[in-house]
Amino acid sequence: MSLRVSDLKVHYRTLRGDVRALDGVSFELGDAEILGLAGESGCGKTTLGKSLIRMDGRMRHVGGTVELDGTELPIGDDRRMNDFRFHEVSLVPQYSMSALNPTRKIGKMVGELLRSRGVTPDTAKLLGRLDAVGLPHEVLDRYPIELSGGMKQRMVMVISTLLDPSLLIADEVTSALDVSTQKAVARALAGFRDNGFVKSMIFITHDISLTYQIADTIMVMYAGRLAEKAPARTIVEAPRHPYTRMLIDSLPEVGVRHADRRLSGIAGSPPSLLDPPAGCRFRDRCPLAFDRCAEEPPAAEIAPDHFVACWKA
């Protein structure tokens, strides 16, 4: 088992009080597994991704543990966490287009970054990785402004995985890209896992169809909690949580026409996480809700590797 997250709670401090962005999430991630983390805005998926590598100033680790390869990650301690960053846990951020220092040549920056982490730059390895994503070696001698958006994206992917981390977090890396580029980037990421550049990966996106293309397992989150986690096929073809089902049903597939089959969305909106209601958080929007939903449903394993947090599952 590569990653074990137990009852993780991370809150955001705001002027109106604590926002419980991540409120008790537990899951495991196996070796060589790509976990697709899906959900809508405000579900806590980005918070989860940040918690695993670097929390920003407003985030607070409230409870729960994260264990990577048998070692507990000190996620609430920015300084101690530094030992794990880049070496064990790494990140391909949403903002890849602006992630490189604009006034340093890329090669020089990579060298300085590596040395600052006590690593001697391995030129052959770096060049090999550039080849793997189809970047010419000259990019190292360029400034970021001289690269196209797609090239910057791939460069960041190469830098982030240069130390062969155990866990790679890819946060909405494709959301700003065109469909054809999106496909290339997603496949390249999957290739990193296949080639052993990274051991396992958490691929965060709002697009379930995209996750389905490269993830082994999909975890759907709702309002700071886990709703359902299962192998990708199962999530798409036999979802058990009403939220997952309604979400999948709201996606127009190529071939589905309004005139033939009218899809519908999910009425209502997620609860405020400032002071979330007790019990199941999907209750207010759920057509299946009944009395027991006032109690919080645990994420039960209803079939091997299939976890659902719903009394009706």
Binding site: V179, S180, K183, S209, S250, L263, G265
Partner: protein
């Protein structure tokens, strides 16, 4: 009502003192008939948003013409009585320092100065109910207190207050969550029933396919394929369309590889004369269309093609 684009071209001047030029849209022609949704599909840099802005009169046309019922676009109060737009980012479409319902106020000032307060309030409420919003939940709120989906509906309601003939919807769902965007799309499909045309601009093929009667696929400012949606997506002919379709992530079906665009002679620099008719209500920009069709479809339909040149 019919919106007609004829050979529309847009050339931007870039650089200091307009030293260089950039052709964003190059000779685009298509129609948006009344009671239909036409989707305009393209990736970034395809010129789709520029086209939308030209139709709305927000950006001047360099060459060619855009006409509504035969009359040329003349941006101004009268034109906007009939043609309206909804944009991509709802939080940028609302001025954050004002309440959301100010967008109605602007309409009232410009078009219905004579309406009494009570009468106007009732009209606004009716329009909000038409877009499935509870007026009491929307009126008096600031934009940041409403969700993206609610805001986009407010904008559609705003357009419906006018004597609308055409609605340009530019990526109006791309900032919305999956569970709310589909209802906004359904709304567009509903309002076309009022006899107005909808131009739905999007990068998302599956959404365009879901909604539109007709589809126009744009690449680098030119139309590569257009026609009835079921033909364009059901039997895509242009390699670019095929590549786009194959790149769309689907549920239930893993990605497969389409032949790269470069395998087509047209993209190797082979000249083209414009759009050729490849079947009923199906036009493709490909000079080698006949040959391609025969290769791909094994001569089943290729022989019947006339390959008639259209447009330029």
């Amino acid at each position: 009502m019919m919106l007609r684009l004829d050979n529309v071209t847009k050339v931007y001047k870039v650089g200091a003192f307009g030293g260089k030029t950039l052709t964003a849209v190059d000779g685009v022609s298509f129609d948006v008939p009344e009671g239909q949704v036409v989707s305009l599909i393209g990736e970034s840099g395809s010129g789709k948003s520029t086209l939308g802005k030209m139709i709305l009169g927000l950006v001047p046309v360099t060459a060619g013409s855009i006409t509504l019922d035969g009359a040329p676009v003349r941006p101004g109060k009268e034109y906007y009585r009939h043609v309206q737009g909804v944009f991509q980012d709802p939080f940028s479409t609302f001025n954050p320092v004002f309440k959301a319902d100010r967008v109605f106020q602007l309409i009232r000032e410009a078009y219905f100065p004579a309406a009494t307060a009570a009468d106007w309030d009732e009209r606004v409420r009716a329009a909000l109910r038409d877009v499935r919003l509870d007026p009491d939940q929307v009126i008096g709120k600031y934009p940041h207190q409403l969700s993206g989906g609610q805001l986009q509906r407010v904008l559609i309601a705003r357009a419906l207050l006018l004597d609308l003939k055409l609605l340009v919807a530019d990526e109006i769902t791309s900032m919305l969550d999956a569970s709310t965007r589909i209802d906004v799309l359904n709304l567009l499909a509903e309002i076309k029933g009022r006899g107005l045309g909808v131009l739905y601009i999007t990068h998302d093929l599956s959404l365009g396919n879901y909604l539109a009667e007709r589809t126009v696929v744009l690449r680098h400012g030119t139309v590569v394929e257009m026609g009835a949606t079921d033909r364009v997506f059901g039997r895509p002919l242009h390699p670019y369309t095929r590549q786009l379709l194959s790149a769309v992530p689907r549920l239930h079906a893993p990605w497969e590889d389409a032949e790269p665009v470069t395998s087509c002679l047209y993209h190797d620099g082979g000249a083209t004369g414009g759009l050729a008719e490849a079947g009923e209500d199906h036009f493709v920009a490909c000079a080698r269309l006949e040959g391609c069709l025969e290769e791909r479809l094994g001569g089943r339909s290729g022989g019947r093609l006339e390959g008639r040149l259209k447009g330029r």
